[in-house]
Symmetry: C2
Subunit: 395 residues, 2 copies
Amino acid sequence: MDRYLIISSDCHAGLPPERYRDYVDPQYQELFDAALPIQIERTQEAERKFLIADVNAAWRKGREQDLSGAWDSDQRLRVLDADGIVAEVIFPDGITEMNMPPFGAGLSLPTEEIVPELQWAGARAHNRWISEFCQMAPERRAGVAIVPALWDVDEAVRETRWARERGLRSILIPNYWGKHDAYHHPKYDPLWAVCQDLEMVINFHSGAAPMSDYADHQGMMGIYISEVAWWTARPLSFLIWGGVFERFPRLKVAVTEGTSIWVPELLSLLDFRYADTPYSAKLGDYRSHLKRTPSEYFHRNVFLGASCMPRRESEMRYEIGLGNIMWGSDYPHPEGAWPETATQLHETFDGLPDSELTAMLGGNAIDVYGFDRDALTTLADRIGPEKHTFSPTAS
Amino acid sequence: MDRYLIISSDCHAGLPPERYRDYVDPQYQELFDAALPIQIERTQEAERKFLIADVNAAWRKGREQDLSGAWDSDQRLRVLDADGIVAEVIFPDGITEMNMPPFGAGLSLPTEEIVPELQWAGARAHNRWISEFCQMAPERRAGVAIVPALWDVDEAVRETRWARERGLRSILIPNYWGKHDAYHHPKYDPLWAVCQDLEMVINFHSGAAPMSDYADHQGMMGIYISEVAWWTARPLSFLIWGGVFERFPRLKVAVTEGTSIWVPELLSLLDFRYADTPYSAKLGDYRSHLKRTPSEYFHRNVFLGASCMPRRESEMRYEIGLGNIMWGSDYPHPEGAWPETATQLHETFDGLPDSELTAMLGGNAIDVYGFDRDALTTLADRIGPEKHTFSPTAS
């Protein structure tokens, strides 16, 4: 094979807000109509507040047709073909703030100022649509079902089963739980069990953080973007120490768009804490239920949606875990690789061994999300980037 | 000088609980009497819960006299002399859980399940005692005043002035603010101003974290000890992005017993976020009020109380900041260097250049906390460890 099979482990899709109406359960449609203008107004208000309306408008100008791939299947296939990407994992929030599911069911799944029942209704509306959307190109699309798992684990289990039946491959659960139970609580075990049984990947995606801490003071956005990766990966510590990967050894968790730079240091820290030291002795027994070291669980059960992965992370690939990294483009978000994907790929990966590129660019994602390798290979032979452009010795 | 001048930037002292009564304002003494048995019972309960009563008892056995240095000035001087330490920064919570100030005014300054007025009363009781305690050996003791700054900034300013008048050199404020305002809120400016004017170091000390997140499930202590350093250093991001070091360029902040391993990665992250990138563009202006990079503020304004610093951190000293590291022994805590201080110092520092050891072991702490170098030099000439034992070439 002369071309790389590239999968983006982090893409986004969503309907224009008003078009979610058809996917909302009938009993919520009246509320949907009332909430829609408020949601749109809030979005515009946030754009003005952060002075980003102009930045967004400038970036989008002339790309309107390409960006409509956020909800238009044919446009999306055209854009991905041109980008050399054969398949993708699809999260909500298409063009960032413009295509969010209704009722606070967007990527960040807030825990405050929302009504759980409505967030669930919004999640189900999106899940119905994304499952249809994925069926339009099933071998190329692994859709992510939104599962606001904090409020009701039974409901989360039901929705996960429903999603699997409709062909979705994974679920998104909140990485920020606010005042709700964290993920070492045994109440979540039925959810981990169904995800393991049905081979549904559990995703945490960058976005949520304790916004009330940041309030509205100078520099708050600097604080947010300096912390947000930590909040994205925070559940890992709860899952590892809580013994979740001990009880559910085949569970797969992906941390997406949370950078990977922190992985070596986190694993070093967790393994150090797992070791027997004078400090640990005075804290009682918090380790005997774990048969493996934290880094062993990590490398077996945790994967990284490495959106727009920078060169530095590719150079750290052995410390991070060559089998754990799944490159992503973040299309159609403005901070993503698209439409400069080719340039970014070369910056990050030029000169690396062929087998390692094969794993990080697509092989790992095939294994994690269960894509059909043969079907995608045929497509990659046509649209994937040529291997020799990354390294003269690669064939 | 043939010996190192060693200052511990992290030691602890506190009275046996019942003896705080004499230092509590009269109007709180009745409540003190009612609360005392509850506090003692809770402490014992925690020991039982975490199965550490036996560990603590075994560690303490035969060391009772040395440990009484937690409140006995003469015993303390004897222990520190034997340890080769000429001076110390003294935080509350002497023998960990056995010498906490009353009313929840201990090291972790909880924000939940306490009455702010009482926490203040407990803090004042400790501050009165520690200021007396430091006056018994003023050149050797930099006492830290407890200032529960979250509830009332005016009161925090008054207590800081009071503490300075009584010879204390720094204040401890909560590193975990719960639902209260974080430190980028402009309401704290009067506190930063008085600390800058009076050269009072602001300390964050490891301990507090969102305990309610950890609840009581399996592995919770593993999660806690894996996160606690992050929670200790978290205020730095709020201070830096909030422009506090821009408005108060002479402010000094110390992060104590929070490890230092995270410093290079944090600074790299903050500086990256400060740089102009496609990602930052869509977030509006959160940078123009900062004239320096985050790492420049850090290296000018932030210092590390490097308790029981491991070899790996000493090898990272240039990336962490040679001028920012202040070694500490954590006496009399069981996880501290004492009574193996000499062994630990050699493990961490053998073979390093003399001038660098001089800075990390005491020189930096002299500058930060304003110790009297001449007085301490005389003492170090008598009790400090001999330089040639660390490196054959050091004189």
